[in-house]
């Protein structure tokens, strides 16, 4: 297929009519459309998507409602019509596919898709194709199931990383769409049809066997098993429908929660701050109470210096009195000794007899000492009084509460500062969440969590029912095997159909696994080749694919490289896409929206050089930061057919202009 021209009227930011002409020459097969973020690049991708499939996708591949696609400025002027027209070639035929949406006459302001009338027309070589055949015709060369590989949204690159996480919901969805793109559904459908035929034949066999005597037990058993199988299948069907609804509801809630995450976080912080404020004011109160209690004895600290000085004076006085007492006691002792010596006429020191002259000297000394003794006055009462006073003062000098009071004051002061900060923060957070219904946010979060549990329970229930279904099918097979030994049973046509259908089911079942394995091998080979061309790291030997179509990079020894940068992830994802394209289909146009976000200049250059070789038309929607016109285009300048620029006319109106290369 080769795209020729896209025309769109009032589509998303493009008020009025705009058009893009695609490159048609094999040598110059690259077209670039430059636009800043939020100007309309992704809308161009959606214009193509809507043109082919009547759908436009937003974030996380959610379908955008029709009333949101029509240019807002046009609707303000009362113009609610929107149209796309895509012309293309395939298999030697030229096509023109037109799709138009207009509001119903009786609706003044559309608010839902049902308020619109959709019309479409497909011309092949100028001849109109019947409406009911349009989808089948488009599917021959651009089936919607494979569209994610030709209308490629850069956001998808991040989704591919999910493939590496086993069991990841996103990864499972991508794996399903990859397998769809590679033809596995044809075989799955074949198996399903064979199973349906088998079941119908089994029921018929049951009815046939009723007529054969001796088979009643087997027939009853078969009937019971078939009836149970029908019940299980209905249950599974209902539960899968319910699961789909639950998942859709959950996805909407996830979006809401993501959008309100900041509000929720602010509310959580607000609650925490309010609790802290409460604790703060409580602590302040407690410290105040403690402080007031300590004031009782603070008066002692006022007089501490005077009391200390007074005590020192008293101590000095007390010491003097004590010294006098000791001196008097010593003298009394000496007097005692001398008296003994005089009385006994023997020296108390050496023990020898005292001569008269010595006796006279001793007598004089005794007199002197007695006079001294009399001269020393010892006031015992005074000493006791002073000691008592000192004890009183010591009580007053015990450590006072002032240092503790100062500590309380300091702590209270710190808490007051913190309190002011908390008050300010609380006010700020209140402003932030003002007008938001935080109760509603909390409700939706709780609801989402509940839905996750329901999803899990439903999935488990489905698995359990499938296990029962499987058992019943096996039991039926056992009965069928036994019946094959019975000539009359074997002859019944229903048994013959069962045999054919059963074998067909086994063949298709086995073929699905074979095809998956074959495709994975092919994809792995093609992706590896692409990776080696795109990577700037010469040491990498290639890629290895896992069961989810996730790819691991292999180093020169064939070992997995475990640490990969965001840029490496993009290269791997692009390699996978190229591998899928080559394994699953012939070359066709690729339209890519901002695929280069996380890549360094080296990788970008490789991709720009490589991609044009993988397709007959490469259309890239980029911004200047991704692909700088001044230096990134030099490698492919010879392949560029045209460059367009998206320009802002107003916040709700962009236009596209062709610019000189």
């Amino acid at each position: 297929m080769k795209l020729l021209k896209l025309t769109a009227t009032n589509f998303m930011p493009y008020k009025g009519t705009m058009s893009l002409s695609f490159p048609t020459s094999p040598e110059q097969n690259v077209m670039l459309v430059y636009g800043d973020n939020m100007r309309g690049k992704t809308s161009l991708l959606n214009a193509l998507r809507w043109a082919f499939y009547g759908k436009a996708l937003g974030r996380h591949s959610r379908e955008l409602p029709l009333q949101d696609l029509i240019n807002k400025e046009a609707t303000l002027e009362g113009d609610w019509s929107m149209e796309t027209c895509i012309t293309f070639e395939d298999g030697g035929h030229s096509y023109e596919y037109r799709r138009r949406a207009t509001k119903h006459a009786l609706v003044s302001k559309p608010s839902r898709p049902e308020d619109f009338e959709i019309s479409r027309g497909l011309l092949r070589d100028g001849i109109a194709i019947n409406g009911y055949l349009i989808d089948a015709e488009i599917s021959r060369f651009a089936p919607e199931q494979t569209s994610r590989f030709f209308l490629f949204d850069g956001e998808l690159l991040q989704e591919y990383e999910s493939l590496l996480i086993d069991g990841n919901e996103q990864g499972r969805k991508i794996k399903e769409s990859i397998e769809q793109a590679l033809g596995v559904p044809t075989l799955i459908k074949g198996r399903e049809d064979a199973q349906t035929l088998l079941k119908s034949a089994q029921k018929q066999q049951t009815r046939d066997l009723e007529k054969i005597s001796g088979m009643e037990r087997q027939v009853d058993r078969q009937r019971v098993l078939q009836s149970e199988i029908e019940t299980f299948e209905r249950d599974i069907d209902d539960q899968e429908k319910q699961l789909k609804i639950t998942k859709a509801d959950r996805a909407l809630l996830d979006d809401f929660i993501e959008a309100t995450e900041q509000i929720h976080a602010a509310k959580v912080r607000l609650t925490a701050n309010q609790e802290n404020l409460f604790t703060n004011t409580q602590t302040q109160k407690d410290l105040e109470i403690q402080r007031l209690g300590l004031m009782r004895d603070a008066w002692k600290d006022f007089i501490r210096p005077q009391i200390t000085l007074k005590r020192d004076h008293l101590t000095e006085e007390n010491n003097k009195l004590a010294e006098a007492m000791i001196r008097k006691a010593n003298i009394a002792g000496q007097i005692e000794q001398l008296k003994k010596s005089l009385d006994s006429a023997i020296c108390h020191a050496c023990g020898q007899a005292l001569h008269q002259s010595q006796r006279e000297l001793a007598g004089a000394e005794l007199g002197r000492l007695e006079a001294m003794h009399l001269g020393i006055a010892v006031d015992e009462a005074a000493r006791n009084r002073i000691s008592a006073e000192i004890r009183d003062l010591d009580r007053l000098l015990k450590p006072g509460p002032t240092s503790q009071i100062k500590f309380c004051d300091k702590e209270i002061s710190k808490l007051k500062v913190e309190q002011t900060k908390l008050d300010n923060e609380i006010e700020r957070l209140h402003d932030q969440i003002k007008g938001q219904d935080t109760a509603e946010i909390a409700r939706k979060r709780a609801l989402r969590d509940g839905l996750i549990k329901i999803e899990g329970a439903t999935e488990q229930s489905i698995r359990a029912t499938k296990a029962k279904l499987d058992k019943n099918n096996k039991d039926l097979q056992m009965i069928a095997k036994a019946l094959q030994g019975i000539p009359t049973a074997r002859a019944a046509k229903s048994t013959q159909i069962m045999n054919v259908a059963g074998e067909l089911e086994r063949i298709y079942g086995r073929s699905i696994d074979r095809l998956r394995d074959d495709l994975k091998t092919r994809v792995e080979q093609f992706a590896s080749d692409a990776f080696k061309a795109l990577s700037t790291q010469a040491k990498y030997s290639g890629l290895r694919i896992n069961n989810n179509y996730g790819l691991a990079i292999l180093d020169e020894r064939g070992h997995e490289v475990t640490i990969r940068s965001a840029g490496a992830e993009q290269i791997v994802a692009l390699s996978l896409i190229d591998g899928l394209a080559r394994a699953g289909r012939a070359a066709g146009p690729i339209v890519m929206d901002t695929p280069f976000g996380r890549l360094d200049p080296g990788h970008r250059a490789n991709i720009l050089k490589y991609l044009p070789t993988t397709t007959n038309q490469l259309i890239l929607f980029v911004h200047e930061g991704e692909v700088a016109r001044s230096h990134d285009l030099s490698q492919i300048s010879s392949r560029i057919d045209s460059i367009y620029e998206i320009k802002e006319v107003s916040t709700r109106h962009s236009k596209i202009e062709k610019v000189r290369i």
Partner: protein, 67 residues
């Protein structure tokens, strides 16, 4: 953007699977069943392929009786 390539791969896998399970059904029958699936692969009405398969099986059994 033709899907010819992947259809060949699917048929190749189908015929190889028939060998794997030692199928007694003839190759022509298997190919014919596959052709039905391919013809209706993007058809919204999922009962049409079933109807065609039933007819194919009937004809196959009738041929067997004739022999």
């Amino acid at each position: 953007m033709s899907t010819e390539n992947d259809q060949d791969l699917a048929l190749t896998a189908l015929l190889a699977a028939a060998t794997d399970v030692e199928a007694v059904l003839p190759v022509s029958f298997i190919k014919a069943s596959y052709a039905i699936q391919r013809r209706h692969q993007f058809n919204q009405d999922q009962t049409i392929s079933m109807h065609d398969l039933e007819k194919l099986v009937e004809d196959h059994l009738a041929q067997g009786e004739a022999k």
